[in-house]
Amino acid sequence: MQLNPSEISDLIKKKIENFDVSVEAHTEGTVVSITDGIITVHGLSEAMQGEMLEFPGNTFGMALNLERDSVGVVMLGAYQHISEGDTVKCTGKILEVPVGEALLGRVVDGLGNPIDGKGAVETTETSPVEKIAPGVIARQSVDQPVQLGLKSIDSMIPVGRGQRELIIGDRQTGKTAIAIDAIINQKGTGVKCIYVAIGQKRSSVANVVRKLEEHDALAHTIIVTATASEAAALQFIAPYTGCSMGEFFRDKGEDALIIYDDLTKQAWAYRQMSLLLRRPPGREAYPGDVFYIHSRLLERASRINAAEVEKLTGGKVKGKTGSLTALPIIETQGGDVSAFVPTNVISITDGQIFLESDLFNSGIRPAVNAGLSVSRVGGAAQTKIIKKLGGGIRLDLAQYRELAAFAQFASDLDESTRKQIERGQRVTELMKQDQYSPMSVAEMGVSLHAANEGFLDDLDVAKVRDFEAALQSYMKSEAADLMQKINDTGDYGDEIKKGIQSAIETFIKTSSW
């Protein structure tokens, strides 16, 4: 865009004319010591917990330790130019970040400043990063699904709007891949997505942005990043920043999905800050309130009822509920879910998707462990068709797991056991899904129906995925109306059941794969 010089000078002129010459009253203090991003300030007797403090050179810090004669401040950004004896001003404000529709499609840092080179964010609204979660009266139970687009998850571990579902697993097990697929699958559903990258490599974040752009999914997504090289305070703040941006949509009666990738790193950043602030260390050297930093964050993901939305929008939006669904990610070390932070977050969330390296390495991707993964509230939100068909899949896999272990030793098995094992193998094969190819409800329904009705039983295990691909493309071209109907209603009545059944039968007769 070309900038007109006169325009700028006009703007500046206006700003100067409107400039309110006021006498500024504030509280001041002096810098006493500077160590590893923690600054001790003498004075500031009126500083609030979490208040923004202004340092020379337009840099800011957050007051965290309030002591009798001094305040412990963590710096948000570079602090190299600050020296002992500098004056520090109170701003009287708790940390706030910009929120609004204008942030969609943008990449911002932990304080909401754009870092994608697309210019300023055109929004006037701001929101404090730390807010109290909606109260008991404001809430509504979870009864609408968020389709993540992955067969194995949507059928067995469904996620509802307003739910908190943990994605947990070792490094390199496809945690982020699930999150990205979930974002891509929200295209066209009206669900706004927020991806918060905490303590990651900049190259990984750039990769995510590029992938989302490629799949046309950046337009409904806000990316908040606090990469590994940024100040610990920013890595700590970033999830709250993203949450405030998501709450903006929730509070005006829309649905949003937020992904925290990952909260282990946030806990590390908080541990670093706390130790430098000389707070007493506890288990694994985490401070005493490490549970609270996660519980207060995840409690803000919720579904609120129409009355609350009406109240929050001042009566502008009526009869609409709002939701913020959270998919926090936790990285475990060597599959140890009983470490401190993983157990904390497992107990806070409404279920977890457990990913395993062994499954991942044996080619089962997404590497979901169906036995250990649960969803405590999602069942109520599942689409009818997926709910009916998913039950069978879950059962098949559970029986298969039980038998598979001892079947390795037995040479001759009875007929029913052999059948169960073979069904299990085929269902496991069917649950595999490529990255960046989320499926619609109808597509999933067809695949699951084929497994439930035994169409896969006669196939070679290696042929299952080819069969599925061919079936999907056949359904797409020959039974588009039926698919559309399933997607619209989500029903699994007799008519639809028969429709799918006959379509698959003709497909088997007429096609090869």
Binding site: K15, I16, F19, E24, A25, E28, G43, S45, E46, N58
Partner: protein, 176 residues
Amino acid sequence: MSELSTLARPYAEAVFKIAVESKSTSDWSEMLEFLSAVMQDKEMVAIVRNPKVSQEQLTTLIMDICQEQVKEQSASFVKLLVQNERLILAPQISELFEAYKAEHEGYVDVELTSAYALTKEEQKKFATTLKKQLGKDVKITTSIDKSLLGGYIAKAGDKVIDGSVKGQLQQLAKKL
């Protein structure tokens, strides 16, 4: 600095209570000011910190320096500081003592910095307006700082009222 004043607080509190009881706050204030001036001397600090100097030697030295400044009670206070190895805190104790004194007597010390020298009348005006704002009597000490360009800055403890042209320009710069 902050930790030192935490350590100095109980001493200042105790001394202030004694001073109020014996109605000799100004004597104590003078004495503490003198002691803090002594303790700000570099050589003096070196001597106090030197472990080879015994407590008796130190006491006699301080008493020699202070001479008439210290009377019965203040002498025992100095001895106590020597015994507890807290002589180094004298400046902080003095500072806190002054703060207690100001609070007790119901006034605040205000540092008024202006770009140009203020006339007596102007000072009076400031005193009355500041009294209204802070709700206490004010004791004004003035200084001149040309870099403010115009206007004034009033400092009362942590509180700063910035009415200088420099501050306003900084605000404007931030807005642009």
